[in-house]
Amino acid sequence: MKYQVVIGLEVHTQLTTNTKIFCGCSTRFGAEPNSQTCPVCLGFPGALPVLNKQVVENAIRAGLATNCSITQRNVFARKNYFYPDLPKGYQISQFDLPICQHGHLDIEVDGETKRIGITRIHMEEDAGKLVHADIPGVDDSCVDLNRACTPLLEIVSEPDMRSPDEAIAYLKKLHQIVMYLGICDGNLEEGSFRCDANVSLMPVGSTVFGTRAELKNINSFKFIKQAIEYEIERQAEILDDGGKVIQETRLFDPNTGTTRSMRGKEEAHDYRYFPDPDLVPVLIPDQWIEDVRATLPELPEAKRARYVAELGLPEYDAEVLVSSRELAQYYEETVALFPQAKTVSNWVMGEVSRALNEDNNRSITDCPVTPALLADMLKLMEKGTISGKIAKTVFDEMYKTGKAPEKIVEEKGLVQVSDTGAIEAMVDEVLKNNPAQVEQYRGGKETVFGFFVGQVMRASKGKANPAVVNDLLLKKLKG
């Protein structure tokens, strides 16, 4: 039988606040185990949570950017279960009154736009981590609680996606948005952006969803596709054999590209949610929402549209340039200083990106050629002081040294030669030394022209103004 896959995604984004959601401990990744803890995040007797307001603000940002309505009376609830990485025996989360509800994102797959619903976004604290004790002969697990109590937003989509590609497009879009908002560092490997996928199959044409499996532990976009594809195959096989898919949690194994059941490890839970009596309801007045809205950055979709409409960039350029907030910012700063949108785009997508890639994927924010330097160089090109070819040399030098382009041109003597007399001498020299080619040209083989240009440029060490060279060559050859 043919099946239609139905996918819903739950994304946990770790917020980049300096301190944890309910205590003052640092959220920095990679510190000595249990060094970033206190009585509150260790769940010590008598300790009480105090809400970090920045988390609420970030949640509002996420909600507004995904077209959600913001809940004005927020209640934190306790989700009760036992696990060694959960210090209090409950997780402080939100249950029936999440901070954001009823949102959506528009994605594009194969040139078609599709709207994916966002059911809810809620605030919660993260758990710690179990780590295997690296002690020979000891089979114990250890607990690192540095991550315990760090702030998370759980973003739950509607089961609106119908292919792995749609799932990826949605995730990438969401990823881009949280990065633009500056609320999450987006690091999938370190677990700052984690995804669980609910996957089910139904016969094509049906409207009744099948039983779903929840896939966990997927920490790259590539794996998400793999995990969903594997799961489609697995469930289809079961259904084709007349079997029933079991509702369960399955763990993705990146080494085999398969998923396996977690049954036995995690039984059906009754989390016994109830309002946390240690925290008072968080009231969000309209004014707060409007204040946050006023600080929202221009989001990628709007930016892309503006690049096309106002700057006249091709769709492709706009798409690439808005892929990250930092790249777009670099581009915009350069254009502000050198207002030729397409030229700047070519350079940013070309030389700048190439240089960064070759430099260990260096971040654009860390690029030694600042927008000001790049703009200065482009101005030299525009004035004809340097040729496009020399510009590449200048660019590489700027990247290496961070020096101003004028200085590099001067130091290296890279000024373009536009002096007709000097170039004429070189042209004469080249024509004199290559009589056979001159003969060919005059005999009608005009393709030899490029050869002469190359020779003159070489003779000038690349500094001759190509336009002048062309003019003179034509004049002499035809003349």
Binding site: F44, G46, A47, P84, K88, R272, P277, D278
Partner: protein, 485 residues
């Protein structure tokens, strides 16, 4: 008068006048503990070395002219207060060897004033009980009659006042746990309005009901100690940011023209005759002082105990989940695997009353029962709050008994938890309403056992119940009678 008999304010005057030093006072208290606590069992942990170091520091402060009301005063703390470097058990085996890394806010405030902590006081396990019999460290005996319970859960805190083994103590009150033992031990016990005192560093039983308060020899001390610990605390989101009045300064306000309400649901048939007599005498006295008596109605009173045992146990079932043997406290020795470690640790670590309440609360929160129990209980709680607000539209203070009977015998109600739960019927509604109440000595039964009187105030109306209590105390002097120990 001996040092151990003094109130905070009396000892303060002597310390200030340098008639006595804090070291002397502390030594006297430690000697007294040594002498009588074997019979009373009010202390779980006594901290003589640390107390003397603190006393010396207090004496230095005093010598330098820097004396606060609590500087150099020997105080005891219910073992529910987390104390840095001092074992804190909460009356439970599961915390038998737990030494906290931090001080709670109330404790820190006492230390700031230079109070001397002589030890940690016995209590019902996790404050769950009305007789101090659920403590892992054995029951506390009532200094007025060693066969009787001192009440609970702050039984040690009340007994230490009666046994004169602390000048003042701190307790916590979730359903009457300060007021009922204060009544049973003939001392003053104040449960402040929810949010008046920070809960930070107080081991949680039922977070929406727990409140810290003083147990003292007289009303002045209660005012003084409350003033020292009250106030907003950024570490406790439920603490309220309102100014703390000078409670001592307002004590002599008097009761002339004060409207005192008598809730008819609290003066029921079957009230112990001795208790009834004490209430009648109190009412007569207040009338003679110029107060106006009015009958009021708190119609949802009969649902209070059931409501309390749903909300308190639901919160407790979650609050006590952290005792899992992973990070602190008892861990079962020979457990194999995670689940067994959790189960064995908790089976060994908790006593039967705690287990009973965890099960009750887990049940109340379970899916399928949540609406019928927990949600319903919250609705009734709102009605009970409303009862009080309505009553306070008519009167300034409510006067009620604290307990239906004088102190009962140790073991008497152990077999019947429901009977035990009902002994808190007059104190529980105050916690549900989140308002304040005080217990003051109001006489003795024919058998010579203490009887307390409860005054209930409006939310944040501590000053009014304190001055009302003060007027009574000045006339009756019941608080001066000493336990025969």
């Amino acid at each position: 008068m001996e040092i151990i008999d003094l109130t905070i304010h009396e000892l303060h005057e002597k310390l200030k006048a340098k008639e006595v030093s804090s070291v002397e006072a502390t030594r006297a208290m430690l000697d007294r503990i040594e002498a009588v606590d074997g019979q009373v069992n009010a202390y779980i942990t006594v901290t003589p070395e640390q107390a003397l170091v603190e006393a010396e520091a207090a004496d230095k402060r005093i010598a330098a002219g820097d004396i606060a009301p609590l500087t150099g005063i020997p105080v005891g703390l219910k073992d529910i207060f987390v104390t840095k470097g001092i074992r804190t058990t909460c009356g439970s085996r599961i915390l038998e060897n737990f030494v906290p890394p931090y001080d709670g806010t109330a404790v820190a405030k006492l230390k700031e004033q230079g109070a001397v902590i002589v030890g940690k006081l016995n209590q019902d396990e996790f404050a769950m009980g009305s007789s101090n019999e659920s403590s892992y460290f054995g029951p506390v005996k009532n200094p007025w009659n060693l066969e009787c319970t001192p009440g609970g859960s702050s039984g040690g805190s009340a007994a230490a006042i009666a046994a004169r083994t602390a000048t003042a103590t701190l307790g916590t009150d979730t359903g009457g746990s300060i007021r009922q033992p204060a009544s049973h031990c003939s001392c003053v016990g104040l449960k402040p309005t929810y949010g008046r005192v920070s809960r930070y560093g107080v081991i949680a039983y039922a977070s929406s009901l727990d409140q810290v308060g003083p147990l003292t020899r007289d009303v002045t001390d209660a005012a003084l100690l409350l003033g020292a610990i009250a106030g907003h605390d950024p570490k406790d989101s439920t603490s309220v940011n309102t100014t703390v009045p000078d409670y001592v300064a307002g004590l002599a306000t008097g009761v002339k023209g004060l409207k005192i309400g008598l809730p008819k649901q609290y003066f029921i048939e079957g009230l112990d005759p001795d208790v009834k007599r004490a209430m009648d005498e109190a009412i007569a006295l207040y009338k003679s002082l110029g107060a106006e008596m009015r009958e009021v109605s708190l119609p949802h009173t009969e649902y209070a105990v059931a409501t309390y045992y749903l909300i308190a146990t639901a919160e407790a079932s979650s609050n006590l989940a952290r005792y899992d043997g992973v990070r602190f406290g008892h861990r079962a020795a020979d457990a194999r695997g995670l689940k067994e470690m959790f189960a064995k640790t908790r089976a060994e670590g908790f006593g039967s009353e705690v287990k009973r309440r965890i099960m009750l609360g887990t049940y109340a929160l379970s899916s399928g029962y949540y609406d019928a129990y927990y949600v319903k209980a919250q609705k009734v709680r709102t009605l009970i709050m409303q009862d009080f607000l309505n009553a306070f539209n008519e009167v300034d203070v409510l006067l009620t008994p604290i307990a239906p009977t004088p102190p009962f015998k140790i073991g008497e109600k152990l077999a019947d938890p429901l009977q035990m739960y009902l002994s808190d019927i007059f104190t529980i509604p105050v916690n549900l309403a989140g308002t304040c109440g005080i217990s003051i000595p109001a006489g003795f039964s024919a058998a010579g056992l203490p009887i307390g009187l409860q005054l209930i105030g409006k939310p944040f109306g501590e000053a009014t119940i304190l001055s009302t209590a003060y007027a009574f105390e000045k006339e009756t002097q019941w608080h001066l009678k000493k336990a025969p120990l």
